[in-house]
Symmetry: C2
Subunit: 434 residues, 2 copies
């Protein structure tokens, strides 16, 4: 740092990078008042120097050489918004090696290699902050690490992917089909042409791995997250859920009971009285339950140029304040609990089941017998004619049951001659049981 000026190397000038430049330029006075230092974007790494941009950048700032940033002795902080694993990881590790602090919005990198990066940072006395990697503009990581520092967090449930929440909301509000809404979302730019990472839950799983690590103080890895997407959710499922008082959302769920942990991403029925049920469209929200604090929720934009850039620049402010105080790299707390994942026997929740059965006497009796044999009792049952009355459709919401038992039930149902099809099986959250 020279002349009370902090020099930033910005890697990436896409949507978020552009937002970062706008905020640093537009809010310069406020940033100075708050940190006592001025912040300058000194170098920007781009793929193509010639590309015309809406931003004004001083002469000579833009470069295609990453080394101009991570090897540049003038640069104090690297802001990485390229995304993806490589070359971002290599650049960040090199920058840390050179004693530069890091702010990143890179969920993939932090979910997969966070421990390695944070450990390198600790060795080098550098800060690494990544608020923007989860739930865009919502300062949820800060809330977990600082706001709830005194509490023991027992559950986090997140709507942490805007694309899928947009799709689920549209399907719910308009009764539309998945394929149709996906196409619309793609046209609007809310979903990518290859939507796999979003709709199959991979993006959400990364964010849940990060939340799990910070909230439970364990070294959660991506493989620990049981992940199921929304591509099989039908408009019928949504309609029935609604009839029973629920919305279907793609939820990330991280739960701790004593020292046992489960983390998953799956389409989940959320009771309409639960604060997550009314989080609609591309908005994100993270519900946090703490032993002492009880129920809280954090709601806001999960993506977008300026919301995500807000989180990035707020992290940058923290780095700069730490520089002013000379305490960089000394604030982070490494995971200190042993990770113990639950078995399927230990994962317990309510479930929603939809079955197509023969319209014959005794079918419901068979179903309830199988449920009883596996210790699964029922909260709600809905039966109605299907396929012109030749079959019946049975919708069940169970009381709390283990995942092991509910899977065994599904298996036995599938073998039962009188059950034509097990259409769907979802986890259920909220409702009368808290």
């Amino acid at each position: 740092m020279q002349n009370n000026k902090v020099k930033v190397g910005l890697m990436g000038l896409g949507t978020v990078g552009t937002g970062v430049v706008r905020i640093v330029q537009g809010h310069q006075e406020d940033l100075q008042k708050q940190t006592g230092l001025s912040i300058e974007i000194a170098k920007v790494l781009v793929q193509n120097v010639e590309k015309t941009r809406s931003l004004k950048l001083a002469e000579g700032i833009v470069t295609t050489e990453a080394a101009d940033l991570f090897d540049n002795p003038d640069i104090d902080v690297i802001v990485e918004v390229i995304g993806g694993i490589q070359p971002a990881k290599e650049y960040i590790l090199k920058a840390l090696e050179n004693g530069k602090h890091i702010v990143t919005a890179n969920k993939d990198l932090m979910a997969l290699h966070g421990a390695e990066i944070l450990s390198k940072a600790q060795d080098r006395g550098c800060d690494v902050f990544y608020e923007a990697s989860v739930a865009g503009g919502i300062p949820i990581l800060r809330a977990l690490v600082e706001g709830f520092a005194s509490d023991r967090i027992t559950k986090m449930m997140g709507i942490v992917n805007g694309t899928t929440n947009y799709i689920m909301t549209k399907m719910s509000q308009e009764g539309a089909d998945y394929a149709e809404v996906l196409k619309e979302a793609q046209a609007l730019g809310y979903a990518e042409s290859d939507p796999t990472a979003d709709v199959e839950g991979h993006d959400a799983a990364r964010k849940m791995a990060i939340l799990g690590t910070l909230g439970f103080h364990v070294d959660m890895s991506l493989e620990d997250v049981d992940c199921k997407g929304i591509s099989k959710v039908s408009s019928e499922d949504i309609a029935y859920a609604k009839k029973l008082g629920y919305e279907i959302k793609l939820l990330g769920i991280a739960q701790r009971d004593d020292d046992l942990i489960e983390v998953s991403v799956q389409p989940t029925l959320v009771h309409h009285t639960h604060p997550l049920a009314s989080v609609n469209g591309v908005f994100n929200a993270v519900y946090v339950h703490g032993e002492a604090v009880g129920e809280t929720m954090f709601y806001g934009p999960g993506a977008g140029e300026l919301p995500t850039a807000t989180a990035v620049v707020s992290d940058l402010v923290t780095v700069v304040k730490n520089m002013k105080l000379g305490v960089n790299g000394r604030g982070s707390v490494a995971p200190y609990r042993e990770k113990q994942l639950k078995s399927d026997e230990q994962i317990v929740s309510k479930y929603f089941l939809r079955l197509i059965v023969d319209d014959k006497r005794g079918v419901l009796a068979q179903i309830t017998r199988i449920l009883a044999e596996h210790d699964v009792s029922l909260e709600q049952v809905l039966q109605q004619p299907y396929n012109g009355g030749t079959q019946s459709e049975i919708i069940l919401i169970t009381h709390h049951a283990s995942r092991k038992n509910i899977f065994a039930v599904r298996e036995q149902f599938a073998e039962l001659e009188s059950i034509f099809e097990v259409k769907s099986l979802y986890r259920v959250e909220g409702g009368e049981e808290k």
Copy 2:
């Protein structure tokens, strides 16, 4: 600090104080892992030493002498949860004089004398944190100061008083009258026997003064908050609001347009699609709109032993971390903007009006003429028979209008012979106009 042990003097052992002891004792291991130091409640100031308590405290810890805490050289941090202005203020100033850091849950004190206390703290190199003073367990002050450090906050709307939100929720859900629900809330312990501070909005006003100061970086004082309570809100108002798509909530509203600021507490119609509309019961929520981040909301318990204590102990963790780093008293940012309050001409919003008028031809024409003369246009009108058809009731929701104009309209209405009564006038938030 001796032997890696931070000694805390706790002032007050009521609800919140008891919660603080429980959390510090119960979460000691986590607190140590996070701060690297152990935290000990060394002295507790109470009014009556003999009182039997549910807590186990070591021999000799409890005292009735405040000086045993603020003059005690062994004590590093004072946690003040007595509440009220005096003697809390005197104790805190003496403690600061002696170089002790302060964590307080005292909204009255911080709203009225925050600037004095923070300035004294700065002189003495001490920390003062007060997360618990606003919205109990919700880490909203941290979100404003750190999470949105990079942004320019333009609007904060808060349901920051659980008692009134409980009353408004019950009135809305059950169509019950104010007096009846208040009595019920008192029986349940949600409202005090003298409910004035809550129902007249004074409590909320204090919290809004604190939010305004931190969110807008101005030195907001309590007199700047225009304050109106809920005691005049009728079940009819709520029913009509609902008919038009709104809930009535006691909202704190702090808004900034360029450098002009308004802060108020008032019963407000909130459109049912707005995230604040579904915040029910004793829960609190703060909606924050930032120039860059857009819409966010923070939701959680606004009071209670453990939620409030969580906020207090998380502040304590921050103090302890700062002690470990040797940076106490160096993180806070004093207000740096000049306070410019809006005039009634500059305060602009939608309004709800309910009038009882003679059921005569031409009345509506008179009404609309007066509105037009004051540049007030209408978004919704509802007219229906009143008093057995001898009169009419007219409900209006206006487009955006200045407070000056809407007050002038109300005055003219009151003088109009054909208008029997202007029953109610409320601000309106949310709905189609964003």
